[in-house]
């Protein structure tokens, strides 16, 4: 990852360590110190809040900027995160998807990036390490063309700490795809500008609308850039089975049941699809690469013919249910497709072929609830809920679960 980012020639890299992104920035520090990135400045900041703030200052000054974070770190930089998108700064950031505490959990799920889906940042999700690498190159190009920041999401540990074969891009190829950054406005004494003024009710709505318009513009741009990418690098940035840079589509065309998912779990689902196809079930998987902007048209067109859709999510909205599925529902409005949400893999719980298979079988049998938590320990939950009915207990749920362990 570091090598790909380095090939994009960032001028400023600012980072604060957090598992599981640390080795990316560590490698970049080494690359910079060895002089391999020219005058690139690597800034060791003292918090993620500062990391994004340093990125803002550098980007506004006309430098191509990169940073990386995960989970708690992403939350700690939420204020400047919105600031960056509001100011239209083309910062690229890796989010090594990791659960958000409490309870503290360092393993993979999508709750961190999902919590920031409305921040105005473009969000791309990688299905494997090749895609993760390629999407960073695409990200810088998209960011600089629409003048919006982009976060490239890759599953923490599952992808960040996996070793697999990938093709690294050649510097010359990257240079061709990514011309030097020429910012729209920058902090330049020869042409002074004031950036970041308070905008009142008379203009705020328009500014916000323009942010939305830019994201919609990106929906058109990404497929075009994806084509440019193929021509130059000989493979699709969105990865295997990529359709248009926005979604990937495997065995979907004649599928009756389609699973929709983001990130590395797509790979596991593809194995289930193959298995079940052998047994005669017409199942397929649609992967979403661009979650923001959400590719309503691509999703609708790809999935419209199916009877059932199962959205596999690695995050959820407490109090209501699925996050991605509600976006999918919007795409599939006015169809009679049955849509279910399967929340799986929270906090790093492995999403296994067996459990995905189980979900699909339930769907076939029409016994799949609208919202299901895959591999949930129902017995444990029921015991705890029963205990709560007997005696109200305040405080952390995780610790409460343990309290009666000894008394059983």
């Amino acid at each position: 990852m570091a090598e790909t980012v380095a090939a994009c020639r960032p001028a400023v890299v600012c980072a604060y360590p957090i598992s599981p992104q640390t080795h990316i920035v560590e490698a970049l520090d080494e690359i910079v110190r060895l002089g391999e990135l020219g005058t690139c400045q690597f800034v060791n900041v003292e918090s993620e809040f500062s990391a994004m703030s340093v990125a803002i200052g550098a980007s506004a000054t006309g430098a191509r900027v990169y940073t990386a974070t995960a989970s708690q770190g992403l939350l700690f930089m939420v204020e400047p995160l919105y600031n960056a998108s509001g100011l239209g700064l083309p910062i690229v950031m890796t989010v090594a998807n990791r659960a958000i505490g409490a309870p503290i959990n360092i393993w993979n799920d999508h709750s961190d990036s999902m919590s920031q889906r409305d921040s105005g940042w473009i969000q791309l999700y990688a299905q494997d390490n090749q895609t993760a690498s390629d999407l960073h190159i695409l990200a810088f190009r998209i960011a600089e063309e629409v003048s919006l920041p982009v976060m490239v999401c890759m599953d923490g540990f599952v992808l960040t700490h996996a070793v697999e074969r990938i093709d690294l891009p050649e510097q010359s190829e990257v240079d061709q795809f990514l011309p030097p950054y020429t910012p729209r406005q920058l902090l330049d004494p020869s042409d002074p500008m004031s950036i970041g003024a308070m905008v009142g009710p008379e203009a705020f709505t328009e500014v916000r609308y323009l942010g939305h318009a830019k994201q919609v513009q990106a929906l058109e741009l990404i497929p075009d850039l994806a084509e440019d990418f193929v021509k130059l690098f000989g493979r699709r940035a969105g990865g295997e089975h990529d359709l248009d840079g926005l979604v990937t589509s495997y065995q979907v065309d004649d599928a009756e049941i389609i699973l929709v998912a983001l990130g590395s779990v797509i790979g596991t689902i593809k194995d289930v699809v193959d298995e079940m196809r052998e047994l005669g079930t017409k199942v397929g998987v649609l992967g979403i690469t661009s979650f923001r902007p959400f590719p309503l048209d691509s999703v609708r067109t790809s999935v419209m013919h199916a009877k059932k859709v199962i959205v596999v999510e690695r995050a959820f909205a407490p109090g209501i249910g699925g996050i991605v599925s509600s976006n999918v529902r919007t795409a599939l409005r006015d169809t009679s497709i049955k849509i279910s949400t399967a929340v799986a893999g929270l906090g790093g719980r492995p999403v296994t072929i067996k459990s995905i298979r189980g979900v699909v079988v339930q769907a076939i049998d029409d016994t799949l609830p609208e919202l299901t938590f895959v591999d949930l320990d129902v017995e444990l939950i029921n015991r705890e809920l029963e205990r709560n009915r007997q005696q109200r207990r305040s405080g952390p749920m995780a610790e409460n679960l343990l309290r009666d362990v000894g008394s059983r």
């Binding site: 600012c14 809040f49 703030s53 430098a63 902090l187 003024a197």
Partner: protein, 337 residues
């Protein structure tokens, strides 16, 4: 330090100023000053911050030949200077958030360095709230990394833009809307305070200085000196706020002077953690003279006044005088009453 002359500046075209060597004239008195914070901004009448910022930034522009970028924290200065779609700033200027001016400035400096444009310098500015409280972490980081930024704190001793609430810089006894002058212990608590200049010195950075809007020439000189250095530099300027302090708008400069002369606001310079220069008090005054004109200290006076608080504040002043060696009674100018 400067101000070797003992008559007051009265403006660009006063006879007195024409007699001085041009090099000793203030930047503001020059017709070719950059006017970086130009007129039309919406500051209150008598705003100490507007005055301080105007002098400071123009001095920085003069020192850097106009090659300067300013990063501003959220606060009065930011709000009154950029009433969208207008701006008073005539230099490149960015406002990001409340607590990150120093970090954003770090980013600007890093980008300029990467671009080979280190001749363009960076100044960050924020109020006491944005510097001492919410911006403390990033500021310390900037100091620790010795990033090439001059950070200027305009200290009016409370969160003024949000309606006068206490900050870590609010002096003991002062009334604010979150330290009301009611109850047994009216006004801000008597804590040990948060002395940012001393904290900056503890980071061992190249240059730390305090200044007030009572001595604008000195303020300009300090900015000039700071811009002649590289690395992390910190300037803390006392800027009275008539609205928040409950003082008369025409007394802003006078109050700043009284703050110094009472010993409550020591004026000094330090390099790499050691004090190098101290401004001696010319005419020592008791704290009452400084506090009385400010309604935020009204509860200390009068029939039901908390005179014990007055004594406590005097003790703070005495301690400062001793600690910073602010008053050589032999050298005091006794000609001025």
């Amino acid at each position: 330090m400067s101000t070797p002359l003992k008559f007051y500046q009265v403006g660009s075209f006063a006879v007195g100023n024409r007699l001085i060597d041009e090099a000793d004239l203030s930047v503001q008195s020059s017709t070719s000053r950059s006017n970086s914070l130009t007129s039309g901004h919406r500051a209150c009448q008598g705003c100490g911050e507007a005055l301080g910022a105007r002098y400071a930034i123009d001095a920085a522009m003069a020192a850097t030949d106009g090659k300067l970028v300013a990063v501003n924290a959220t606060g009065c200065l930011e709000v009154f200077s950029t009433p969208y779609p207008e701006t008073s700033w005539r230099l490149p200027w960015i406002h990001s958030l409340f607590g990150n001016a120093s970090a954003v400035a770090t980013g600007v400096a890093a980008a300029l360095k990467a671009q080979g444009k280190s001749d363009i310098r960076v100044v960050a500015q924020g109020g006491d709230g944005g510097t001492v409280d919410i911006g403390f972490g990033p500021l310390s980081g900037m100091f620790e990394r010795n990033d090439d930024v001059l950070y200027i704190c305009y200290d009016n001793e409370a969160y003024m833009n949000t309606g006068v609430q206490r900050s870590g810089a609010t002096p003991p006894g002062a009334r604010t809307n979150t330290s009301h002058a009611v109850g047994e212990h009216p006004g801000a608590s008597f804590t040990q305070g948060k002395n940012l200049p001393l904290i900056a010195m503890a980071h061992g950075i190249p240059y730390v200085a305090t200044a007030t809007v009572a001595d604008l020439h000195d303020l300009e000189a300090k900015v000039k000196k700071a811009m002649g250095m590289r690395g992390a530099r910190y300037l803390h300027i006392l800027v009275p706020c008539p609205l928040g302090w409950g003082s008369r708008s025409e007394e802003t400069i006078k109050l700043a002077r009284l703050a110094t002369e009472s010993g409550l606001f020591p004026v000094f310079e330090a390099e790499y953690g050691e004090i190098t220069e101290t401004k001696k008090i010319r005419r020592r005054v008791r704290v009452e003279e400084y506090l009385k004109p400010q309604k935020r200290f009204a509860h200390l006076f009068g029939a039901n006044g908390h005179s014990e608080m007055l004594s406590a504040i005097q003790a703070i002043a005495d301690k400062n005088v001793a600690k910073f060696n602010l008053w050589d009674s032999e050298e005091a100018d006794t000609n001025h009453g």
